[in-house]
Amino acid sequence: MSQPVLSVRSIEKSFGGIKAVRGVSFDVHKGEILGLIGPNGSGKSTLFNCILGQLEPDAGQVHVNGRDVSGLRPSKLNRLGVGRTFQQLAVFPQMSVFDNIVLAGQEHRGTMLSRLFGPSDAGLTADAERMISFFRLGHLRGTLAGSLSYGQQKLLDAAMAFMAGPALVLLDEPAGGVNLTMLAHLRERLAAYNAEHDTTFVVIEHNMEFVMNLCTRVIVLAEGAVIAEGTPDEIRSNQTVIDAYLGG
C-alpha cells in the first residue's frame, strides 16, 4: 500500500492524573474519509489537537506524507498541506466572505515581502470565486461573515479549510448545530470535494448519520483508546461500540 498521508503513532496525552489519550495509532491514506467517533470525553478532541500542534503530546509521533510534524506550529503545519475546521464557529466576522476565503489562501502565495507589495488579493480572486461558488456562497460574497447564519458560517469555515488546496483536512464536528437542509448540503459538498480532488479527510463527529454516510472508514475511541475500527456497516453492528455508547 502507498505511504499514508497521515500516520499517527502511539500518541499519549494526560492532564494531571487523567489520561485523555492512551497510545492511539492509525494511518489514513490518500482520498480516504476517516471518521473518528466516540462518546463525550473519549479523547477525540485532545487527539485532534495533538495532531494539529495545538497541544503537545506526552509521547508519540505524527507524520504527514512521511514527514515528522510532531510539535510543529499550526501555521507551519498548514503550509505543509494540512487544513482544519473548528468545532466552534471560526470565521472572521468583520471581514467579508470573499476576504475570509482569500485570507485562507494568501499565506501560501509568494513571500512575506511580495504579500506587502503585491496585489491586494494576492492573485487569488479567481481561485476564491471558484471556492465560493463550489460551496454555493456566491450570493453572500460581499457579506460580512459575522452576519451569516450558523450553517452558512460552517460552510464558509469548510471552504476556508480547502482554499489552500490541502492534502489533508481535519474536520472538527462539522455538523454540530447545523440544520438538516444545510447538513445535507454540507455533506454533499464535502463528498464532492473529496471525489474531485482526492483530498484526505479525518472527521470528528457526533452525528452518526452524517459520519456513516460520508466516511469510508471509522475509528471508535473510548476512554482515550481505540476500541474498534472498520467500515461504517461493521461499526454499526459492533457490540463493543454499542456497549461504549450505551455505557454497557
Partner: protein
Amino acid sequence: MATWLRRILILALIALAIVAPLGQGNYIIYVMTSWLIFSIAAMGLNLTLGYAGQISLAQASFMAIGAYTTALLTLSGWHWLAAMPLGVLACFVVGFGLGYPALRVKGHFLAFITLAFNTLVFLVLRNEEWLTGGTYGLVGIPRPDLGLFSTMRSLPFYYFTLTVTIVAALAMWGIVRSPWGRAFKALRENPIRAESLGVDTRRITLLAFAIGSMYGGLAGALIASLVQFIEPGSFGLAHSLRILLMVAVGGAGYFFGPFVGAGVVILLPEILRFAEGYYLIIYAVLVIVMLIFVPSGMIGIWGRIRDRFFVRPVARADLQQGAQLK
C-alpha cells in the same frame, strides 16, 4: 460609500488642508501642524490596536525615541532627512522588541507592560542627562532645510508636514489594503483560526507593533522640529493615553479614524476656549457622551446615520437560494 465619491471627498479634504492655514496667524498654523503630527502617531497606534487588536499604551514613548534621535543627530549637524529615518528605524527595532510580551499576554496585562515601557523611556530621558539634557531637554532643534524651500517659518513647515502626512497615509493605505492588512485583522478577530490558516501570528504581532511604532517615531521627528525644544514631560504616559483617546474617538480600525480623532482631541479644546475655565469640563463631557453613544468612534456615526435613514430593503438572498439546495 462609492469609490468615486470617496476619492472626491479625499481630494476636497486635501484641498481644504492646503487652503485652511492661508491668512491665519502662527498659533492657528501651529495647532493645525500639531493635528497632522498627532494624526501620524494615531495612525500608527490604529494599526497596532485598531487593525491588529494589540493594545499599547506606549505610543508617546516611540514619539520620544523618534524625537530625541532626530534632535540629537540634527543638533550634531545631520540633515533632518538623514536623521529622521534613523529615528524611525530605531522605533521599528524597539517596537519589534516590545511586541514580544504580546506573544504571551493579552488585554489589560499587555496594556500594563506597555505602560511600564512608557514609564521606563520617560525615566531614561529624565535621568540620562549626559545624552538627553535631563529635565532641561534639548533646545534649538533645526527644521529641515530643503534648499529652495526652507521650513523655518510656520506656513512652509505646515506644508512640509502635510506632505509627510500624505505620504505616511498612502503607505498605511497600502499596508492595510495588502494581504498584511488582512492578516492584521485576522489576528485581531481570531488568532487561533488565523494561525491554522498559515498566518504566522507571532511575526504578524511583532510587525504590528514595529510598524505602529515607526509611525510614532515619524511623528516624534516632526514634533521635535515643530517645537524646536523637547523634554521628557512631552512624552509621558498622559500623552500615550491622549493618542489612545484619538484612536478611540476617531474610530479604531477605520482608516480615517486617526485624523478625525486627532482633530477632536487637539482642535476641540481650542474651539472651546471661549468657555474659559470650563472648557476642559465641557470637553471631557463631550468625549464621554460620544464614547457612550458612538462607541465605534466618530467615523462610526456615518454608518449609524446610513443604517437609520438610508436603509434599502434587500431580499434575503440565502432564502432565495435555499429552495435550490439539495
